[in-house]
Amino acid sequence: MIARVWTTGGAGLLRLAAISLLALGTTAAAQTAYFDARGAGQVGERFDGYLGYAATPAATARQQTETINIRRRALYTDLAQRRGVGPQEVGIAAGCTLLARVAVGEAYMLGDNRWRVRRAGQPVPVPDYCS
C-alpha cells in the first residue's frame, strides 16, 4: 500500500489530497440529509445508542446515518475497553442521553423494538432503567 503511493509519486499524493477534500466535503454537508431524515421521522435514535430506520430515508441520508453509526461503534468500543465493560452497555448508557435529546416529531425505538414518534406535549422518551 505504502509502496504503491511512493511509485505513483505526485499523482498518488494528489489523489490522496482529493480524497481528503471529498471526505471533508461530505462531513460538512453530512449532517443536512441526516437531519432532514431525522426531522421527517425516518431516522431515529434507538435505545441501544445507535441510529435506526423507522422508514426508508433517501440514499444520502442512509449513507450519512451509517457513517455516524460506524463512528459511534468505534467510540463505544474504545470507552468500553477503557472501563472494562461491554460495548453494548456503553451503547445503552449513551442511549439514555440520546433518547433525552429526541425532539417533537422525531422517531425513537425503545427495548420493545417498536418505533414511535414523540408527539407535541409528550415528555422525552427516556426508559425507566436510565438513571
Binding site: 452497555e89 442521553t97 427495548g111 438513571s131
Partner: protein, 77 residues
C-alpha cells in the same frame, strides 16, 4: 391400510401438539430475557453515565446536533 392411515393421523396430531408445545414454551421467554438484561446492566449504566455524556458532547461528528436545537440540560432527565 386403514390402520396405517389412523396411525399417520395420530402421529400427525402428536407432532402438531409437540410443535405447539414448543411455541408455547418459547413465547413467554422473550420479554423476560430483555428485562433481565436491562436489570443486570442498570448498575453499569449508572456508573457509565458521566463518561458517556462527555463522550457524546466531545464527538459531534458521531452525535450531531442541529445548531438551532437547544442543548440538553442535565436536569431534563
Amino acid at each position: 391400510m386403514k390402520r396405517s392411515i389412523l396411525t399417520t393421523m395420530a402421529l400427525g396430531a402428536t407432532l402438531a401438539a409437540a410443535l405447539e408445545g414448543c411455541v408455547n414454551v418459547r413465547t413467554p421467554e422473550k420479554p423476560i430475557e430483555i428485562n433481565l438484561n436491562v436489570a443486570i446492566r442498570q448498575e453499569v449504566l449508572v456508573r457509565m453515565q458521566r463518561d458517556v455524556d462527555s463522550l457524546i458532547n466531545s464527538n459531534p461528528q458521531a452525535f450531531p446536533q442541529r445548531p438551532s436545537a437547544p442543548a440538553t440540560t442535565p436536569g431534563q432527565r
